[in-house]
């Protein structure tokens, strides 16, 4: 019988060795959480998305809740690169947890320049948030199409030697195809996924609930949808998949790993229970101990699909 300390929670993800598979989703983590948890317990730290330019963000209201979910349109407020280098980077320096820097830019060239500039000591990996609008493609997110994903990932790959994670959007018809493009262009891992484009309308005023009209849906309500995306992407590529979508409990994290994720990101759950990530880490250890699993990494892709009962998945991946 294993003891809790005997469970090996470490995982290898996209060029990084992590002490456990749990990290924040970009945009849901900041210094304020040090009042709640020891950052040295996390698998990794993922920063808010940094842009080159100063951005104030979207008009208010920026969030609206729906059952089991949240719709946000924060708009990536960013204090720019200089502020990140002078303030944020030194703040995280004392922690021995890998710092993953999320970046965004309106062009492929902008992404590459930012990745090069932020390939600094203290930065463990770059997470490219390519779910944002591409001004060269009429505002369509890079990750909505395989070609634009491949182009931006290739430029990023040429710009940095750091491990490169590419964060994909579920707002596309064919995520496995986009994931394959990211892999082909040199990404070390893909994050599946970002929020689901959505909307809410106020019945008193007939106005949209968000200042930006539309926003991204997150929270437990989207978990089954993103879990399916993780399952499909993990089957389509060899590089690791980092699962992200509605994870609030260790059971959710286990489900994502069984579907094929090598690690998980926790976002919206932190807004409701700030200690969600450390609770999930403890729960993962307990789950593995209970099920006599020595290494949490063994869970990855462990979903059992019995041959006799294999469902016809062809319609999910139509031959191209």
């Amino acid at each position: 019988m294993s003891t809790p300390t005997a469970v090996d929670l470490s995982v290898t993800v996209g060029g990084l060795r992590l002490r456990n598979p749990v990290m924040p989703a970009s945009g849901t983590f900041a210094e304020g959480l040090d009042r709640v948890m020891d950052f040295n317990r996390l698998g990794a730290i993922v920063t808010k998305t940094i842009t080159r330019e100063l951005r104030t963000g979207n008009p208010l209201p920026r969030v609206v809740e729906r059952p089991g979910s949240l719709i946000n349109a924060i708009g990536i407020p960013s204090k720019g690169v200089a502020h990140f280098i002078e303030e944020t980077l030194p703040y995280y320096a004392p922690y021995n947890t890998p710092l993953v820097v999320s970046i965004s830019a309106p062009t492929a060239e902008g992404f590459a320049g930012l990745a090069a500039e932020l390939s600094l000591p203290g930065v463990a990996a770059i997470e490219a948030n390519i779910s944002c609008p591409n001004i060269e493609e009429d505002g369509k997110a890079f990750a909505m199409r395989a070609e634009t994903t491949e182009k931006v990932t290739r430029q990023l790959r040429d710009a940095t030697k750091l491990p490169l994670w590419v964060k994909l959007t579920p707002n596309t018809g064919d995520m496995p195809e986009v994931a394959r493009a990211a892999e082909a262009a040199g990404a070390d891992a893909v994050v599946v996924a970002n929020t689901i484009l959505s909307m809410a309308i106020d019945l008193k005023t007939f106005k949209p609930c968000l200042g930006n009209i539309m926003g991204g849906l997150s929270g437990p309500a989207i978990k089954p949808i993103i879990l399916r995306h993780v399952f499909q992407c993990a089957r389509a590529i060899r590089i690791p998949v980092i699962g992200c979508g509605g994870i609030a409990t260790s059971d959710d994290a286990v489900e994502y790993m069984l579907a094929g994720a090598s690690a998980v990101q926790v976002g919206t759950a932190t807004f409701v229970q700030p200690a969600a990530m450390t609770t999930i880490i403890e729960g993962l250890a307990a789950f593995c101990m209970h099920r006599d699993i020595a290494r949490v990494a063994e869970l990855s892709g462990g979903v059992v699909i019995e041959e006799a009962d294999e469902p016809d998945l062809a319609w999910l991946n139509p031959p191209t």
Partner: protein
């Protein structure tokens, strides 16, 4: 600081609109100060599913009994959930959060100006002021006299309370300005403390500028995380002529009166 399961001690109506919630909590929670807030994970009322926590300003604390108190009006899914709580129930609370009011030892007399739910936020000031030996005059505004809360609490701590209401046509900015000018001329206003009305904030800003008085304002904004993570509760502030965005949950909710853009 982490969330904790507090025990509901009481949850009673105080008037036609407001309810008073008292919970037993940790020492850290009971150490909250005036102007700080808690994030309450509200129970689900029938047919509704509030998802986020609800920010609620501190109405009172009792460190000896390890209790915190809240005053709330039932207006949405979250407060309808709070309304279902009975003594003995558990409520997930997280706090105290944010920056509260700060009393300067040099101030002999302060003026608290509030309206509506803002009166609840100002309430714990009365206790601190009394402890510091600071005199308090409160100008409380409401739609009708029977809806004013905190009056007995302030009077119990030795404060003078002036009530102005819409129904008596005394709550307009010009009348409040007359009252405040009188208090200033009588030497009873070394600083303003305010919450709950943009119009009254503007009156106080005008007077503060004219007489060189300091002031603090507790601001409201829709929140999600309450910990400075999500940037959903930002507001614009005027910092030496430059407009800057600040997070109400993290940089506030109490701000310098002159920097607020009500």
């Amino acid at each position: 600081m982490v969330a904790e399961l507090a025990e509901v001690i009481a949850n009673d109506s105080v008037n036609a609109e407001y309810r008073h919630l008292v919970v037993g909590c940790s020492e850290e929670a009971a150490n909250g100060v005036a102007g700080q807030f808690f994030q309450l994970l509200c129970p689900q009322p029938a047919g509704e599913q509030p998802f986020l926590r609800r920010p609620m300003s501190l109405y009172g604390t009792n460190l000896a009994k390890r209790q915190v108190e809240f005053l709330y009006k039932v207006t949405g899914a979250g407060t309808r959930g709070l309304n279902t709580l009975q003594s003995g129930d558990r409520l997930d609370i997280m706090g105290p959060l944010g920056a509260g009011f700060a009393l300067d030892g040099g101030w002999r007399n302060i003026v608290a100006v509030g309206r509506g739910a803002g009166l609840a936020t100002l309430a714990p000031l009365a206790q601190i002021a009394r402890r510091n030996g600071t005199g308090v005059t409160a100008v409380f505004s409401a739609r009708r006299p029977e809806l004013v809360v905190s009056v007995d609490l302030f009077r119990g701590h030795g404060a003078e309370v002036i009530v102005v209401t819409d129904s008596e046509s005394t709550s307009g900015p010009s009348n409040v300005e007359r009252i405040l000018r009188r208090l200033i001329s009588e030497g009873r206003c070394d600083a303003f403390f305010t919450c709950g009305s943009s119009r009254l904030v503007r009156v106080q800003q005008r007077l503060a500028r004219e007489f060189g008085l300091p002031g603090q304002v507790a601001m409201e904004q829709q929140m999600a995380c309450g910990l400075g993570l999500c940037f959903c509760c930002v507001r614009d502030f005027n910092v030496q002529g430059e407009i800057v965005q600040r997070r109400v949950c993290w940089d506030g909710p109490v701000f310098d009166l002159m920097e607020a853009l009500p």
